[in-house]
Structure formats: structure tokens, C-alpha cells
């Protein structure tokens, strides 16, 4: 399962402008995390609590997706299914247009994997 997820997230993991890719379950449990830069660990710690709050709003349907700007990074939260949320931290070198397309493609492919 983990390998399948890693394969699906490959376009994001290989992108130089992306500092980390994670999938959180709606209760805040990290299901998959790929961190590429040590420097973002501080941001990750800070984000842990913020992510839980955002996931709560995403679960309740008050937010359909979220985007946060933190210093030179942008954090994208995009629901993948009823219970899983994709989280991507990207620096300002990234093409946001390309990133949105990648995330959308991954979301569509992911849906066929999460239904049991």
C-alpha cells in the first residue's frame, strides 16, 4: 500500500520545489510523509496543530481546500477522499499552475485506490 502511494505521489516527491509531501487522515494521523529538506521540520512541528484544525474544517465541508503562505513556502491542503487529505509544502520557485494540475491528477488516480 505504502509503495503504491509513493508511486502515485512520485511527481510531487521528485519536484525540486517541493519540501515535503504528506497524506494525513482526517483525525490528524500522518499516513504517509516524505520530507526532503531538514529545514522544514520546524514548520512541520508548527503545522501539526494547524493541520488538525484545517482538517476539521475540511471534514465538515466548510473548506473544500486550503492554501497557506508561510515565509517563503506555500502549504496546500487538498482532500483526496472522505478521510484523507494531501498536504504539500512548496517553495516560491514552484509553478503553482503545474502543482495544481499535478495535485488534481493525483487526486483522481488516488480515488480508485482508497475505496475498499
Amino acid at each position: 500500500m505504502r509503495e503504491q502511494i509513493k508511486e502515485l505521489l512520485k511527481p510531487l516527491i521528485l519536484d525540486e520545489g517541493i519540501a515535503f509531501v504528506a497524506i494525513y487522515r482526517i483525525d490528524g494521523t500522518p499516513i504517509f510523509v516524505d520530507i526532503k529538506r531538514r529545514g522544514v521540520v520546524d514548520i512541520l512541528h508548527w503545522l501539526e496543530e494547524q493541520v488538525k484544525i484545517l482538517l476539521y474544517y475540511l471534514e465538515n465541508g466548510r473548506l473544500s481546500e486550503a492554501e497557506i503562505k508561510i515565509s517563503s513556502y506555500r502549504l496546500f491542503l487538498q482532500p483526496l477522499s472522505k478521510s484523507l487529505v494531501l498536504t504539500v509544502l512548496a517553495d516560491d520557485t514552484i509553478s503553482i499552475y503545474k502543482l495544481r494540475i499535478d495535485i488534481s491528477t493525483i487526486r483522481n488516480e488516488f480515488l480508485s485506490h482508497v475505496r475498499v
Binding site: 487522515r25 483525525d27 494521523t29 477522499s81 478521510s83 484523507l84 482508497v114 475505496r115 475498499v116
Partner: protein
């Protein structure tokens, strides 16, 4: 370190071969995550390995225990009458020392399950809880390898009845179920495993009738199997076919599932 297989399909690979012998292992989880089924699989494995198996509950009568096993497709009545499995229901007491419970679990190389351990600790005075649990764990370790289930509160924060058993246990496995029925709705995580390495991650698992808990991780090359003779629902068979094809279950485990059902 001597290890004993847990009986949970896919778990032994995550904890380097199984539970360390003569340890106390805790399964933590909220209502409905599969703690009792986990316990049953652990006992079934013990019976198949010729170990004396003991199940202790403060809630379930023997007939309730057998009913749960039967709902999974496992008939344990004969195991009890053959003396391979002892099932005991106890009243909660304010001290374990010299209690009937301790006499029930005294032996050598046993597989002991206490399901659930939470009422036992809840009845103890806070100041004595740690010492009492420590003493009981020592007795359990001397008698064999124990599995205790600990109830995680659905709402609110946990008290001593959760903290103390987990702090003193040699291994803690957390089961979680968020109830969305998707992949990763049910997850298993090894929080600690003293004296043995373990994998640090969150693993999806499922619960199937006639099978029990299956950790959904590839462990072998995929294979084809014929399950048409098994008394299982079509949806369960479909999942089993997929697990075999994806290498999540091994051929010998299919034989084990078959033996338990027939």
C-alpha cells in the same frame, strides 16, 4: 530474543518476528477497532502451537466469548473441552495479590489474554495502581506471554487506567478506526516494542470474517488460489483473492484460515 508469533496476519513482519517471549503486550484502541478479535487470533495461534491458552474477561461470560468466536467462523467449544483453552470471567477487585485471577494465570509458557485490562486498573486507588500493575505484569511474565487490551476513550482524555498499563507494558500496539470504510480508515501502529526493533509507520489493516485482522502490506509474491469451498461471503472471498494476488497473505496462511473454518 525468543519470539512468539502473534497470529495477526502481517504483524510479525512489523515487529521482527513476533512478541518477545515472557512479556506483556498491550493492544490499545477505541470501541470497534478489533481488540477482541486480535485477542482471539492470538489465542488461536497459541493453541495451534501447543501452548496453553487462557482468556480472561471482566465483562464476557464464556457463552458470550464463544458467540463472538462463532461470529468469526471459529468454533472454540472443543478447544475448551479438550483443555487447550481456559476461559474465565472475573469480578474486579481492589487488589490483585492472592486473588483468584492470579491463581488462574499461574503456569509456564502460557498465552494469556486479559480483555479488557481497563476495568481492572480503574478499580485501583491511584496511589497504588502502578505498583499493583507492575506486580501483576511480573506474574504474567513468569507464566508466559500476555496480551492485554486497553480501552482508549472515545471522547475526552485518558486517565491512569490507560496510562499505567501502557507505560509498564513491553509492547504497545495501537489500533484506530475512523469509520469511513476506505483504505486507511483502520490503521495499526507499533508504539513501542522493548528488546526488539519494530517498523515506525502507520499501516492499514482490515477485519474479515473467518480471517480476523490482516495488515495490508505486501509480504510475498502474489499467487492464485481457489476459495470456492470456504463458508465465507462473496465479498470476503473477493478480498481474500485480492490479498493473495497482491501478496498480502501467504499460501500457508490460506491453509491456516481454511483449517480454522472447517
Amino acid at each position: 530474543m525468543l519470539k512468539i508469533p502473534t497470529g495477526i496476519f502481517g504483524l510479525d513482519e512489523l515487529i521482527s518476528g513476533g512478541f518477545v517471549k515472557n512479556t506483556v503486550n498491550a493492544v490499545l484502541g477505541t470501541v470497534g477497532c478489533g481488540k477482541t478479535i486480535f485477542s482471539l487470533q492470538y489465542l488461536l495461534q497459541g493453541i495451534e502451537d501447543n501452548q496453553e491458552a487462557v482468556y480472561i474477561s471482566f465483562d464476557l461470560e464464556v457463552k458470550d466469548f464463544l458467540r463472538i468466536a462463532r461470529s468469526m467462523g471459529w468454533k472454540l467449544e472443543e478447544k475448551i473441552s479438550d483443555g487447550l483453552l481456559k476461559v474465565g470471567r472475573f469480578q474486579v477487585e481492589d487488589s490483585f495479590i492472592d486473588s483468584e485471577l492470579v491463581k488462574f494465570i499461574t503456569g509456564k509458557d502460557m498465552r494469556i489474554v486479559i480483555d479488557s485490562f481497563t476495568p481492572l486498573v480503574a478499580s485501583l486507588e491511584t496511589s497504588r495502581a502502578r505498583n499493583e500493575v507492575n506486580w501483576l505484569y511480573k506474574t504474567l511474565r513468569e507464566s508466559g506471554t500476555a496480551l492485554i487490551t486497553v480501552e482508549e476513550p472515545f471522547f475526552g482524555t485518558a486517565g491512569k487506567e490507560v496510562d499505567v498499563p501502557l507505560i509498564l507494558a513491553d509492547c504497545v500496539i495501537q489500533l484506530k478506526n475512523v469509520g469511513y470504510g476506505e483504505a486507511y480508515s483502520r490503521t495499526l501502529r507499533v508504539i513501542k516494542h522493548r528488546m526488539s526493533p519494530h517498523l515506525n509507520s502507520v499501516f492499514p489493516y482490515s477485519i474479515l470474517e473467518g480471517v480476523g485482522l490482516v495488515v495490508e502490506e505486501k509480504r510475498c509474491e502474489g499467487f492464485e488460489v481457489d476459495l470456492s469451498d470456504l463458508p465465507l461471503s462473496e465479498s470476503t472471498k473477493e478480498k481474500l483473492y485480492r490479498y493473495c494476488k497482491d501478496g498480502i497473505l501467504k499460501p500457508e496462511e490460506i491453509q491456516k484460515i481454511r483449517r480454522r473454518l472447517i
